[in-house]
Structure formats: C-alpha cells, structure tokens
Symmetry: C2
Subunit: 346 residues, 2 copies
C-alpha cells in the first residue's frame, strides 16, 4: 500500500481515484483554490459535483490550505490541474515537494517558445528552480474522466525519463480496466496528446457543416473521416517537428477519436461549422474551459515561427492553419479541401 | 465529355454516377447478374432500390447481357463489383476490355497467398491472361456510398501505376465535394483500405462490450479509442509487411473511422461484443454481405503464414489474432488488453 496525494480535484484526477483506491492505496485528494465547493461536497457524501460520480468512501479530502498535511509522507504526487493551472502548480505546489517522491501529472498541453519549438508541461516544470530536481512523469492517451469513473476500458501511456519509476507508477495505477503502456519519449507522448485538441476542433467542423447543409441532427461521416485522415497526416508531421517518435501517433489518433466524441471541443467545432462566428460561439459556450482553443493557437504559432526560420512549411498544415484563421482572425469556415490532396509518385 | 461505363450497379458504383454525371460525362451503368432488379428499377424512375437514392435522369442503364454495347466506345471502365464478384469480373468482364481504355475499380479487399504475401485486386486482375495488358487503377479511402450520394465531402485516393492516367481519371471524377488524391503506391493504398474492414470489426467489439455491461444503448468511447489506437498500430505494421508506404495510414485511419460508424461491420462487432456467438451473430445478419469477415480471415492467415516463415510475429498483432479466434475458432470475446501494452525506452 502506498500513499498517493492528488493535487487538484478536477474531473480527471478525481476519476483516477477509482483505480488507485481500488488497488488498496491511501488516496488524499487536495482541491485547488477553484475546487473549494468540490471538496466541500465530497466531504459531505463523496459525490463529486462536476464529475457527477460518487467517489469511494475512505478517500481523504483536503482544502488547498491543508495541502502540506496531504503531501507529508506521500509516496507519489499526482498533479491534476488543467492547462490553466500550470503556473499555479509551478508556483504553489512544486516548492512544497520532495525530490525523492515521484510526480505524475494529467495536464495535457504544451507551450510554444518564440523560436517555434514546443515544450511539454513536464519540461516546463523541470525548467523552474523548484522543479529542476523533481522526478517528473505524465499521463497521456485516450481517456475521458467520466468513462474511467464508469470503468470503461481505458488504455493510456505513462511517460517520464526513468523506466523504473514508470514501472513503479504503473504497479500502483493499473487495474483490469485501466491499462498502462510506458514510454521514456516524453516529448512524443505529450505532444501527440496535446495536438489532438486542436485537431478535434478541426474534425468537428464537419459535424456542423453537415448540419448547416441538411439541418441540425443530420450526421455524415465521410467528411469527418476526411478531416480525421488529414489530422493524422498533420499530427505525424508535427510529431516529427517536435522530435517525438512516429509511433506516438497511436496515442494521438486514439485521443483524437475520443475527443471528437466527448463534449467541449466538439461543441465549439460544431457551432463554427454551422456558420456561427467565433465570438458568438465562445459566448454561447461562456464559462466552459476550452483547451482546444489554446492549443490550436499555440501549435499554429509554433509552426509559423518554425516556418519563419525555414524549419517548417505552413503549406504542410492546411487544416491547422485554417483552424487558426477561424479562431484568431475571425475567418469563416471554408475547409481547404484541395490543399489536402496529395500526389504520391514512387 | 467522356463516356464512362460502370460495370456493376452496386451502391458505391451507383453513388459515383453523381460526381461523374454532374461533370457532364455520358454514364453507362451496367448491372451484374445480381443487379437485375436494380437495373429494372432504375429504368423505371431512376430510383436505386439498394442505395435508396434517385440517380440523375440521363444515365443509361444496361442489363448484364447488354454489357458489350455499354463497353463499346467507352473512354473509361469503372469496375463496381464487391469483393465477392472479383472472379466474375476477371472471367466475364476483363476479356471484353480494350487495353487502351483505363480501368478503375472500387472493390476493396485483398487476397492472401500461401506464403503470406498479400495481393491487391488490381494485381490479381493483372495476373490473369485477360488482364495482363490492362491499365488497371483503383479507388481507396474513406467514402461510404450513401454519403457520397448526399454530397457530403469525401476525400479518396486514386491509385495506379501511371500518374498521367491517374491525373486524367481525377479530371473526370473530381467535384467540389469529391476530393481526389493520387498515388502510384497501389499496394499501400489498397492494403490500407482493405485492412480497415478487419479492424472496424475489432473496434466495434467495444460498442457491444459497453452494452453488455450497462445495457443496450449505453455508449462509451475510451474503450473504442483504445482499440482504435491499437488498430492504427497493427495496421501500420501490416502496411510495412505488405510493402506499402507508411503514409497510407492516413487513408487507413480515415477509412477505419468511417467504417466504424457505417453499418454492417459495426453490427457484427457489436453483436459479438454483447456476447453473442459468431454463428448466432451471422445468423442474425443473414443475407448481409460481410466483407470484414473475409478480410479479417485473410489478413490473419497471411500474418500466420508470414510468421511460419519467420517474416512476422503474431504477437505484434494481438487484436487481429483475437478477431480471427472469434470468427474462425468460436472463441468468446475477451480483449487481450495487456497484450496491447508497450514499453518504449529511448
């Protein structure tokens, strides 16, 4: 039995209490400043007001000011913040951690540097003074929190630089419904699963386009599949640019698949595809965190910076560039179909 | 304006009358011996009884015994038979064709040879006496017939050995909703889109498994995404074994996506996932042509033959092997999740 302290009581971290608690570990779930009501609710009856699932009785709950108690004696720290909590995690959490205790985070995303190179969150945290000596690992792959909580089979990848740490973490988390692959290619895994957010928005445009043509509720898959294929093509190119191994497209494609069918990103893509302006669509989804907007913007910015330095060609990323135009330049949806066409001569 | 003769009045060939007729070509649609009622119906009011769409008025319809009239003077022959009509096409159609007239076929699938090598249908037809001098091309990629008929955007690949022929064919077929890439990697394109049938069955097992657990109609995507990712992994390995270029996974993944959501293969996978035996599932779907069963069997047999010759390892294809066990050895569905787990050490 180990002691696992989860920092952030968001949906994914909270869903991960299921496999870990069921494996017999002590689980300490700590809310961020934004999770006060979540923790209050959990303390009352174990019901998570956002995940809308009842967590196992026996999990220990902490408000943010009790974080140090929760960290004391922990064998593993799980970072459960969203991409909007990355700086908070760096400033408020990392300085409290012990370098001998491995950290594993569920935050998906990446930061683009001015020269166009892309930096994963584990690398960002390692680049800080408080994080530089930490044993930092991360979880990628197709897994939505609701379905994990419902024990649907989920296959993920744990990545980090030390394979022994990864094997230890796997031993704590894996169950007969939570399946874990391991990889020391942190850049590859993290980029693959970050990129899918931008492309899930791209594929979802087709959902709205079909509805625009035939009425709300009309569903077609040819156009979604065309954009899915183009997404796989561009994601493979981006993985190569970021320096990740090509095989990570397995996580990227799987994660793209599950994201297209799960919630927020699909909603914004559908609204845009129907012909709504970006500003109106954002207003309709007010209050919903949209990591896809952030990641699409950052990825497009990275490609454009790399192109400026002669290290990439924006023409290789027509779908990403179009998504960027829509969300950052107010352009109307007009899928560049002919730009997707290729001629392969052996 | 060109004269295009379509041999086979199945759903895909008939759907392809839309872009070609709209481009101003003369379209001659010839039924196989199985299409007699289809042609009779079309002659009456242009309504296709299987596609359930009204074709353009002006298309010329032919019964099989009128095939030679339809072929006379044609600029292009389109082969529209299903994989169950491959031999009929070789015996009854190829001998009637002129070697100066390009042929393009929509039949997806492949034939496994005894040594485990996989042969595409264009290569099979080229291997016959009547076909050896023909200019044989094929259409691959994600495109269901209904949605093409409804003018949903569809992106496909035309493949063949001569790029000029491919460019000519593209000029006849492409419209603002039918988008065509070209490739001389016939093996790569054809294998990628053949394989997806086997894997669409594999992914659909998750649909049924979720229903078995939670009741019919329950939908989860984590497990589908896990199997989708594993399918992409195995399809890339199979493409490499067949000698196709890796980039064809773009067509394979897109085609897998559209096949999972379209009809017959999903039905059999779902029934099996719910726990129905293969024999009972086939009985429930009696009369429905199930190319996925044929292609899964052939692909598994090819991998096993290659493995016997030391050219492949069946352990690299755990999902395909499990699908094969289910459909050919009566095994119950029991997804080998741990066999999908990988350890990547850079």
């Amino acid at each position: 039995m180990a002691i696992l302290t989860f920092i952030g009581a968001g949906q994914m971290a909270s869903a991960l209490t299921f496999p870990t608690f069921e494996n017999g570990h002590e689980i300490r779930l700590v809310g961020t400043p934004l999770d006060r009501d979540v923790i209050d609710g959990l303390r009352k009856d174990n019901f998570h007001i956002n995940l809308k699932r009842t967590l196992h009785d026996g999990i220990k709950y902490y408000q943010v000011e009790e974080m140090e108690d929760a960290i004391a004696g922990a064998d593993v720290i799980l970072g459960g913040v969203s991409s909007f909590g990355v700086d908070w995690f760096a400033e408020e959490v990392l300085p409290k951690l012990n370098k001998d205790v491995p950290v594993i985070t569920v935050t998906k995303g990446m930061i683009d540097r001015e020269d166009g190179t892309m930096m994963t969150y584990p690398d960002f945290w390692k680049s800080t003074e408080a994080g530089k000596d930490l044993n930092m690992n991360a979880i990628g792959g197709p897994c939505t929190s609701y379905e994990l909580a419902d024990k649907d089979h989920s296959a993920v990848a744990f990545c980090g630089t030390d394979i022994d740490t990864l094997r230890y973490l796997k031993s704590l988390f894996e169950t007969d419904y939570y399946h874990v692959s391991l990889s020391t290619d942190v850049t590859g895994v993290e980029c693959a699963v970050a990129l899918k957010n931008a492309y899930a928005l791209g594929v979802s445009l087709a959902v709205g386009l079909a509805e625009k043509r035939e009425g709300i509720g009309a569903i077609h898959y040819n156009s979604q599949a065309a954009l899915f294929g183009q997404s796989v093509r561009e994601m493979r190119r981006l993985l190569a640019l970021a320096g990740g191994q090509d095989d990570n497209i397995v996580y990227g494609a799987g994660d793209l698949y599950v994201t297209i069918f799960g919630g927020r990103t699909r909603k914004i893509g559908t609204l845009l595809g129907r012909g709504m302006s970006f500003d109106d669509a954002m207003q309709e989804l007010a209050g919903v965190t949209l990591e896809s907007i952030v990641i699409a913007t950052r990825t497009a910015r990275a490609v454009k910076a790399l192109a400026k330095n002669g290290k990439a060609d924006t023409k290789d990323f027509p779908l990403l560039m179009h998504v960027d135009e829509i969300i950052n330049q107010g352009k109307a949806v007009d899928i560049p179909w002919t730009a997707f066409e290729t001629e392969t001569i052996l």
